[in-house]
């Protein structure tokens, strides 16, 4: 409770800003005579959206499944390849430049191809999410595992400890902060990937919903869909940030945020 009050106290400016923002939105619609098929008022978005709540919740689940599944697969693959490339000079000379050059390609451009190859189901969406999440994770992991200080490297060499032991006691914990930079970036990409994949070809999910209702001139429902999508994005990002706090509470960036 005390913590909650403290949070309110520190966040009051932000809360005030949001309240002001939505009030401005609400009252500028009649004020400037904006037609509702262009921009609906927040109150209308809530009332119309709640009539469609069952569908919105179901579609949020669909998009969430694609997002989380793709993200987790990208995490496992990205970390795995990242570590492998960091420890193997052959992979560093082959796979690494390959990944860097693919990183320059806008991955989302592959989306129509995947839809045409794998159909309208779950799989093409998951593949696209994996694709947009994998690269930030793998490239940051490589950076992370290659930036151990010279002194620490010499120190562990002077102890004669095994590669496995130094990996878990030094290299992995030292790499985690930079790895999380990639994890967080990928968390933002994940919902974007899932949404665009649904825009291109699907029969359910929030991206599908938004593209259909927009076509039917219902921006109120589109905004309701965007609201749920935002909640999904925030949850994924919030979860990753929470994991960061749990796994690397010692990291300086954490301490600065808490202050």
């Amino acid at each position: 409770m005390k913590k909650f009050l403290k949070w309110i106290a520190s966040g009051w400016m932000l809360i005030l800003f949001f309240v002001g923002f939505f009030l401005f939105w609400e009252y500028s619609i009649p004020l400037f005579d904006i037609p509702r098929y262009i921009l609906p008022a927040p109150s209308e978005i809530v009332s119309k959206g709640s009539a469609d709540l069952d569908k919105l919740i179901y579609y949020t689940g669909v998009t969430a499944l694609e997002t989380v599944l793709g993200y987790v697969i990208a995490l496992v693959l990205g970390l795995g390849f990242g570590i492998a490339i960091s420890f193997s000079s052959i992979l560093r000379r082959t796979l690494y430049p390959f990944f860097v050059s693919i990183e320059m390609t806008p991955k989302i451009a592959f989306a129509p191809l995947f839809i045409s190859w794998f159909g309208f189901g779950l799989m093409p969406k998951v593949i696209i999410v994996v694709l947009v999440c994998f690269f930030p994770i793998v490239l940051n992991a490589i950076l992370a595992f290659n930036s151990l200080s010279n002194e620490l490297t010499l120190f562990y060499q002077s102890t004669g400890a095994s590669t496995l032991k130094t990996f878990f006691k030094i290299r992995l914990p030292a790499a985690l902060p930079q790895c999380f930079v990639g994890f967080k970036y990928a968390a933002i990409n994940a919902t974007v990937g899932a949404t665009i994949a649904e825009f291109i070809g699907s029969d359910k999910g929030l991206g599908f919903y938004i593209s259909i209702v927009t076509g039917n001139m219902r921006p109120d429902l589109a905004f309701a869909g965007i609201f749920f999508l935002t909640c999904l994005g925030l949850s994924v990002f919030g979860f990753v940030t929470m994991m960061e706090k749990i796994l690397i509470p010692w990291h300086i960036s954490m301490k600065r945020i808490n202050k």
């Binding site: 200080s149 002194e151 620490l152 010499l154 120190f155 562990y156 060499q157 002077s158 102890t159 004669g160 400890a161 032991k165 130094t166 006691k169 030094i170 914990p173 030292a174 690397i248 010692w250 990291h251 300086i252 301490k255």
Partner: protein, 255 residues
């Protein structure tokens, strides 16, 4: 003379062809058990390179290093090592950082609890055992790092400008701590520094290295009683040592 550490014609050249840099040597040094030897020279003379070659952490171009007549090939593990940038990890407390040395060596932590308490007390860090490195001042971090480098009772301690980044007052305090610990445990110490005063205060012998490529200009045996406190530092003999070393480096135009 028991020649505990024998460094023979040791030389290091970095790169090859047009990029070739003759960094150090050839140099021959013999060090006896329990000696505190300072390697004193201007920056860039290859002192740190020498230390890494002695520790087996860097291959030499030619020459050899022997410990008790055994050739050094690859990293030597029965040593303690300390650098200008310390090797404390931010995710472990001071005590856990000291334990890291033991864990990496596969030693039993239980056998060392008392020693950890004692060594922390000897550098006045006993109240900071459960603190993280970033909660400590630079000087405290270096003292903690010194405990980390010494906890496994290495016979040889290699110090590469461990006080290089500290302010003058803190350096003074930590020198005294180092000296105290060295006098108790009597390990063989190779101490790389560019501070003349520091070298004279701590060492039994100072080896003067010329500018790059580093070679030995001369060795000076420091014949002063330990512990060398402020009183010794104000003695004419101490000042004479410092002055004579300053003259050598003045001759090379480095000071």
């Amino acid at each position: 003379m028991n020649n505990f550490i024998e460094i023979t014609e040791l030389k290091k050249v970095f790169g090859s062809g047009i990029d070739e840099v003759h960094a150090f040597g050839p140099v021959t040094i013999n060090i006896n058990t329990g000696e505190f030897v300072s390697i004193l020279g201007p920056s860039g003379c290859g002192k740190s390179t020498l230390m890494l070659m002695v520790a087996g952490l860097l291959d030499s171009t030619s020459g050899k290093v022997e410990f008790e007549s055994k050739l050094v090939k690859g990293p030597k593990t029965d040593i303690g090592i300390m650098f200008q940038d310390n090797t404390l990890v931010p995710w472990r407390t001071v005590k856990e950082n000291i334990e890291l040395q033991l864990e990496l060596r596969g030693l039993n932590l239980k056998d060392y609890q008392e020693q950890i308490d004692n060594i922390l007390k000897s550098v006045s860090l006993e109240d900071f055992a459960t603190r993280f490195p970033n909660e400590l001042s630079g000087g405290m971090q270096q003292r903690a790092a010194f405990c980390q480098a010494m906890i496994h009772d290495p016979k040889i301690i290699l110090l590469d400008e461990p006080l290089g980044k500290l302010d003058a007052m803190t350096r003074e305090k930590i020198r005294a701590d180092f000296q105290k610990l060295w006098m108790i445990k009597k390990p063989t110490v190779i101490f790389v520094t560019h501070s003349i005063e520091e070298a004279v205060q701590l060492s039994s012998r100072v080896i003067l290295i010329t500018p790059r490529p580093g070679k030995i200009d001369r060795e000076i045996k420091i014949d002063l009683p330990y512990p060398r406190d402020l009183k010794v530092k104000r003695s004419p003999k101490f000042i004479e040592y410092v002055n004579s070393i300053q003259e050598v480096f003045h001759k090379y135009g480095v000071i």
